[in-house]
Symmetry: C2
Subunit: 462 residues, 2 copies
């Protein structure tokens, strides 16, 4: 890998220098260092191996599970071995939802088992399950039109995938809308852009005034089959059984490690992902990859002897998937120092081939970030787009911290997302290393550059 | 669809006529009829709907199952309603393998359930299951090198997919090779070109002198995980439980219907697929699609009033998947008339976008088939390649009957093959209709053309 990359740099550098020659500044100041970071990142396979070890050894890491705590213990211990600074687990109370046993049987028109995967936060069914006729709808609008038919039924939302943002509303709000129409349970077509009979879970919402009905995902295949059966005028009866329940909140931790700054240690660039996952697959993409890549950034910089002026703080948040308690706890714990949070970068879109970052900040800051981005042109990861962040850094971004998210090739993201297929084999070691390179260059330069990244004054101090 | 196609023909025909003008013969004789057949086939959505109804209503159709017999009853009744000739079920005794309950637990290094899908024909485990350490190998060669380590273990074959023909040897012969090395069971990485944690079944072989050990497929994901664990030096222990067993042979049927020839009714063009399937998914691609497309060919020709000089016989064979008893029974039942079998065409590669046919016959016959193929140029389905047939027509091809297989875009075939993902949503109604068009033109012209398709004399009569 290194040999290939060196040859590549020799070819790419003159052009790059030429393009930049009339524009001295951050890029020129950091080009040599950036190239050194990139070369070292690409010469390393430890990152992929660590993602594999973490996910193989501890499995999925749902908030409240022993798996999650065991994984956190191991990470803290490894971070200590890596010699990182101020390694610590900071307490967070997290929701403790337990899936329990689940089954879905078709009674009519044909007796068979269908695959089912309860939605996070769902209540269970009574012990004897729920047997009910089915109403299939393609949209909330169709449910509204047919709401007189929904009472006492299991409402199936069969909304084809368009974009995640659009389609996920059925997973998020389906239980409320179905219950408002009088349904006794709801099944949601998995929010997935490809299916091999694979159900995808994720969080649902309930609201105060509406009965909480059990809600689960079914496969794209079965949603379409139920639709065809209904369209033929066949009567459909299903039997749903779910043991889902919620236990009292459990103790978990945000995992933190630092590379302490040499000149302004109190000024912080936060980078990270979330260490919890859903309870299917092993959460390799969502988001063990983002965690280990962020962790690797400071391990690698330390190994290279590159200690920046400001502190780089890795945070592996707890409970992104079903509560966001880690991000909220971080905001509260560091409320006094958020003004000194120079930048927060989250990677939670899978550590596939990176193409750059999305940035949310002032125009002046954007210009600087774009210039830093050019340092990633040799690996085609320098495109900076407007808007970007992440769920876990949302709470501190709302307090005025500039936010950024790593952008990657997400073509297949929703093939795997929240399903049994989220496993490390979907990642590519070279692409993972490219993510390390991109994150390390961006974090290092922002943490080290002479001028602090400009930002709006926090609303509270305005 | 019809409007689009008519416009398309108007544009395509002059060019097509021009190319053929210096070469009168079969193509000129049948162009008008072929275009009529194509237009009618593409104007029809009944074929897709029938595949959907068949697979939704009867589900998977493993040999020996009630599902298969119910499906056959329905098809026979529908064929009668369609007014086809000589509709009948011809008795075939088929193997009756039953999957039973299955589970696979990892005991070390991490307690978790792994997905498992027994291979067809496998014996079961003792009731208490088999708990054993694991040896992972990537090939038979590696097993040979490490055979001293295999005794008493569960051997996992982790051979990456290259081509079906290459990779399927581990599913077919893995149980024999592992048992020869002293293994107590074997697990085979699914033969699949893409995986979303989806196991793929299929037939295995045992041989006489070797102990019959239980054999099952695991997912690509888990095969790779077990490999990584072994490569790290971790000890792996699995617990496999399989209730698989084989009952006495069961009665099933080859389904037959005809469009009787007007001049040479005793001369026959056979077309068909297999009506049995594996017991996962609903066997829509493998091979309900091939069955319904073949059936539709004669229904459509009849509707168009196109009754050829020779008979077109649709055969939906029983038991392609785990015994080939249907193909063998057909050969035996029609031994006396095989000399009058002009051609046999099988479609068993999924009814995806067709590009032509593979043909096995004499050079003289190939030239005629290629000329007929040009009639399918308007739908880009006229490419005739050498070699082709199908498992079910293999027995009569070996008796001298020229054989042919429909060629389709098989890019995704091994994503779905023998898995829960083999469902009708993977097919496209327009592509299904293109298959009907291609099959109907080829079958009609060969059945109707003045000269009988030439063939080698059957070996027995030489």
């Amino acid at each position: 890998m290194l040999r290939y990359f060196t040859a590549f740099l020799l070819a790419a550098l003159p052009l790059s220098l030429q393009a930049q020659s009339s524009r001295p500044g951050l890029a020129d100041l950091y080009r040599e260092t950036a190239n050194r970071i990139i070369a070292a990142a690409l010469d390393d396979s430890a990152t992929y191996d660590r993602i594999a070890y973490l996910t193989d050894t501890f499995g999925p890491r749902l908030s409240g599970s022993q798996n999650l705590e065991d994984a956190i213990d191991w990470i803290l211990s490894e971070m200590q071995s890596d010699g990182l600074d101020n390694v610590r687990g900071e307490p967070v109370m997290v929701p403790h939802w337990v899936r329990g046993k689940e089954s879905l049987e078709m009674i009519e028109p044909r007796r068979t088992s269908l695959k089912v995967l309860g939605l996070g936060g769902s209540v269970g069914t009574p012990e004897e399950g729920i047997t009910a006729p089915v109403l299939v709808v393609r949209s909330f609008d169709e449910l509204e039109e047919r709401k007189d038919e929904a009472a006492g039924k299991i409402v199936v939302f069969n909304a084809p995938f368009t974009s995640y943002g659009q389609t996920v509303q059925y997973r998020g709000n389906g239980a409320i809308r179905a219950a408002q129409a009088g349904a006794v349970a709801t099944l949601v077509r998995s929010v997935a852009s490809m299916s091999l009979y694979s159900p995808h879970t994720g969080m649902l919402r309930y609201d105060e005034g509406t009965p909480r009905i059990p809600a689960a995902a079914i496969t794209v295949e079965d949603a379409e089959m139920l639709q065809r059966m209904q369209d033929r005028g066949q009567s459909i009866v299903l039997h749903l059984s779910m043991g889902a329940h919620t236990l009292p909140d459990a103790q978990s931790r945000n995992v933190i490690a630092e590379l302490t700054g040499t000149e302004y240690p109190e000024e912080v660039v936060v980078i990270g992902g979330h260490i919890d996952s859903w309870d299917v697959g092993t959460g390799a993409m969502d988001d063990a990859g983002g965690c280990v890549v962020s962790w690797e950034v400071i391990r690698l910089l330390k190994e290279l002897g590159l200690r920046p002026r400001r502190t780089i703080r890795v945070v592996l948040w707890a409970n992104e998937e079903n509560g966001l308690r880690g991000g909220l706890a971080y905001r509260d714990a560091y409320a006094e120092s958020l003004d000194d949070h120079v930048l927060a970068i989250e990677t939670d879109g899978g550590v596939f081939k990176p193409d750059g970052f999305g940035f949310s900040g002032t125009e002046e800051a954007m210009a600087m970030i774009r210039e830093i981005g050019t340092l990633l042109d040799p690996i085609q990861a320098g495109t900076i787009t407007r808007g970007g962040g992440g769920a876990d850094i949302g709470p501190i971004m709302r307090e005025g911290v500039p936010g950024m998210g790593l952008s990657v090739d997400d073509t297949k993201y929703f093939w795997y997302h929240h399903s049994e297929a989220d496993t490390v084999d979907k990642l590519d070691p070279h692409e993972v290393n490219l993510c390390v390179a991109a994150m390390a260059v961006m974090a290092y330069v922002v943490a080290d550059m002479p001028e602090r990244l400009p930002r709006r004054k926090a609303p509270a101090t305005n």
